[in-house]
């Protein structure tokens, strides 16, 4: 009986050690800022989104972003309406955009050691019903078990079937290529 107790205690101890030593399975971010910026000779237009959800898997290097499109806020209400409408992003039919892919230089990043790491990314981005390849590089900052990702890339709207109908006030003003900047903060789960 005494032996069994010792054995059970030992097993429990082993289990808890195993649970502790296992590093975070995934980093999850629900605190993010995605900004898109377009500049034309007429004016600069920017929209901000603070509602995206993202994950980074430190073992596989998988990165995923899910972006609610109606959360993009513009200074001008009319631009926001045009951005969402059926000629542009069709956000009521396609409420979310997605980015997913892999960090290609995973061995350069030590998720257990504080520091700033350059991360290269290869994947795809889906807006409306169109998917395009995306290559990008950004910075991952590891600090006390949490991560921050910073990156900037350009998107060509035409690649996603976003057309420029004449007479659409916004379409003529938004540049055909927009700059997207991303910052997100992750906690291990």
């Amino acid at each position: 009986m005494q032996k069994l107790k010792v054995l059970l205690a030992g097993a429990a101890l082993l289990f808890s050690i195993a649970a502790f030593s296992q590093s975070a399975e995934k980093y999850i971010s629900s605190k993010s800022h995605i900004k898109f910026f377009s500049t034309t000779p007429v004016e600069d237009i920017e929209a901000n989104n603070y509602a995206s959800v993202s994950t980074i898997n430190p073992k596989t290097g998988a990165v995923v972003f899910s972006v609610p499109m109606q959360s993009f806020e513009f200074e001008k209400a009319m631009m926001q309406k045009h951005f969402n409408n059926e000629h542009f992003l069709e956000s009521s039919v396609y409420p979310k955009s997605k980015l997913k892919g892999m960090i290609t230089n995973l061995s350069d990043i030590d998720f257990n050691k504080d520091g700033k790491y350059e991360a290269n990314f290869e994947g795809e981005i889906t807006i409306k019903d169109k998917t395009q390849k995306l290559e990008d590089s950004g910075t991952i900052t590891v600090a006390g078990g949490s991560l921050t990702l910073d990156t900037t890339f350009d998107l060509t709207l035409g690649d996603f079937g976003i057309t420029f109908d004449e007479g659409e006030m916004v379409s003529t003003k938004i540049a055909k290529s927009v700059e997207v900047s991303v910052k997100s903060e992750y906690q291990s789960n």
């Binding site: 995934k26 999850i28 629900s30 605190k31 993010s32 800022h33 901000n48 603070y50 509602a51 959800v53 993202s54 994950t55 995923v64 899910s66 609610p68 499109m69 109606q70 959360s71 001008k76 209400a77 009319m78 926001q80 309406k81 951005f83 969402n84 409408n85 059926e86 069709e90 956000s91 009521s92 039919v93 409420p95 979310k96 997605k98 997913k100 006030m169 910052k183 903060e185």
Partner: protein, 158 residues
């Protein structure tokens, strides 16, 4: 003489048209954002109800709640406060989520309404009014349930 008069009237009409058209254009261009808090609520329901509507039939829920121009339905959501955080814009984010629910409603407040969040605590039931931006769903890539996103929120029962 008569011809001149017609031209004059024509010119005045054209000018008036231009002014009115230009005025409408300018108004449209500078039209303010809809004030979510002063607008009428479209639906009142619990966080569990809207999450279950979305998890049961996402397409139907999108048709019911999302508007093509982005001015989607204004909701009053009642639920248990399961978390309070801050976003990168400095706004308070309150998560309303039932204990047995897979997802909840994430409500982002505004510069005007942030202070009211200090009146609520995790574990208590509250009602939040805001505009829906997207619904709840299980995402295969994230391997997570995503919450319903509510923005321009404020607490209405405190």
């Amino acid at each position: 003489m008569k011809r001149r008069k017609i031209i004059r009237i024509g010119a005045i009409l054209a000018l008036a048209g231009l002014l009115i058209g230009g005025g409408i254009g300018l108004y449209m261009f500078n039209m303010p954002h809809r004030n979510v808090q002063s607008a009428q609520t479209d639906f009142s329901l619990t966080s569990s109800q809207i999450v279950s509507e979305y998890l049961t039939d996402k397409e139907a829920a999108n048709i019911k709640y999302l508007a093509a121009d982005g001015d989607s339905k204004i909701l009053e959501i009642t639920g248990v406060v399961s978390g309070i955080s801050e976003d990168f814009n400095g706004n308070q984010v309150v998560l309303l989520k039932g204990n047995n629910d897979e997802a909840g409603v994430s409500a982002t407040f505004t510069a005007d309404s942030n202070a009211s969040v200090s009146k609520i605590v995790v574990g208590e039931t509250t009602t939040v009014k805001g505009v829906i931006r997207s619904g709840a769903a299980y995402d295969d890539d994230l391997e997570l349930y995503e919450n319903v996103v509510l923005e321009q929120s404020s607490i209405i029962n405190n």
